[in-house]
Symmetry: C2
Subunit: 242 residues, 2 copies
């Protein structure tokens, strides 16, 4: 949400833009004029105060509610959130980009590639019908020829039929999907675990050594796209700044 856009011209910013109102409300919270938990004036009142339409105040408040700064209830009003719910934004980069951003040489290799019927264990997790065809791909990604990520991915072929013809010689499944299969819902599960025998071998660590695991499932509306388990050696760090 880039709210930094300005007029560009030397002209003063609109005094009654929803952005102005948003900022003013944030200021009043910061300066403790409105305390957490407190009920603030209604849209009509604010509109009168700021000399704008109720719709404008509505948009400002709605966007503040979207990011958890205020809480709104019909018939009740708008109140400053008690615990200004903080959230960090985690970037979800393409592996290649991530490796290259660290100045390392990127390389990947496809370990296996099978078109199969969805195993029962995955069926529930991905919300697929029994016997649905899926593509199972296992990849190893390298940074400067050292194992960076072991990727074990299942792709719903019904959702992404075009991928069946892909050889993944130059473009990794990860990158292909990012470019060709949009999704609207995503679930990420981050954890630490001990490396399984397979993971240990792939990553060049010992069995049971700590590894950083990202399990991600994506959907477009209700249609499952892919489920992937990405395992990194413990030197991996996931960093986010807000």
């Amino acid at each position: 949400m880039s709210d930094v856009t300005q007029t560009g011209t030397g002209a003063a910013a609109q005094p009654n833009s929803f952005r102005t109102i948003k900022t003013e409300i944030l200021r009043r919270i910061r300066d403790r004029i409105w305390q957490p938990g407190e009920l603030i004036p209604g849209e009509e009142d604010l509109a009168r105060e700021f000399g704008c339409a109720r719709m404008t105040v509505n948009r400002a408040l709605r966007e503040l509610a979207d990011i958890g700064i205020v809480e709104r209830k019909r018939r009740v009003g708008t109140r400053i959130a008690e615990h200004p719910l903080r959230e960090a934004r985690l970037e979800i980069p393409v592996v290649r980009t991530e490796v290259e951003a660290r100045g390392a040489q990127y390389r990947f290799s496809v370990l296996s590639r099978d078109e199969v019927e969805v195993p029962e264990t995955l069926r529930a997790r991905l919300e697929l019908p029994p016997g649905a065809p899926v593509l199972h791909v296992r990849c190893l990604h390298f940074a400067d020829n050292r194992p960076w990520q072991f990727e074990d991915r299942w792709i719903n072929l019904a959702a992404v039929p075009d991928i069946a013809g892909q050889s993944f010689e130059t473009v990794s499944p990860n990158e292909w999907l990012v470019r060709n299969a949009p999704f609207s819902e995503m679930e990420n599960d981050l954890s630490a675990a001990g490396a399984t025998a397979e993971e240990a071998e792939m990553l060049g660590v010992s069995r049971g050594d700590p590894v950083f695991v990202i399990e991600r499932a994506t959907w477009l509306l209700d249609q499952p796209i892919t489920l992937v388990r990405m395992v990194h050696p413990s030197s991996y760090r996931m960093i986010s700044r807000v």
Copy 2:
């Protein structure tokens, strides 16, 4: 963004609500009617097609742009994003809330509490002047009496002087800070590691066992607030949905 709200009454949903349009657009993307990178019809056209006002289409498209599904440019139009959704939002909950949300009993104990001059190793990381007074607190958080998180925290006393008088008998440092020390910048570093001797003892695991580590630093503008290392046993999962 809870877009699941429905009418509740048996009545059919408004055919021209911005939600309906949002869903229909997502459907067309899913069904490959509109491909990634493709320019879709303008707001006017869509409004005509759906039999609604342009404002309604505008809101649908704006919200889709907010979550990265489409990209919009003036004079150019709206196109399906090539690389949709590149970030996930991770909630940063209060430990107590997090534990209680899993239906477990929350308890914490303060292991140590010292006011000292900032150690040289931390000075650079926190961008503090040499000799700055800091509060060092170590806590153990429990879920149903099982160790949940080992917290090792450093607090910049210059930024949060009020905390010096806190005993942390009922309110944990974590919670106190969330409620009393707003911050504007945050840096999170997530990783997997092998438990140190101390961490292993605290968490009731073996030394070297995988643990999930969150290291977080926060600032208010340029002023450092706190640096904390939170260590969880490997059963811990950090989940985010988008």
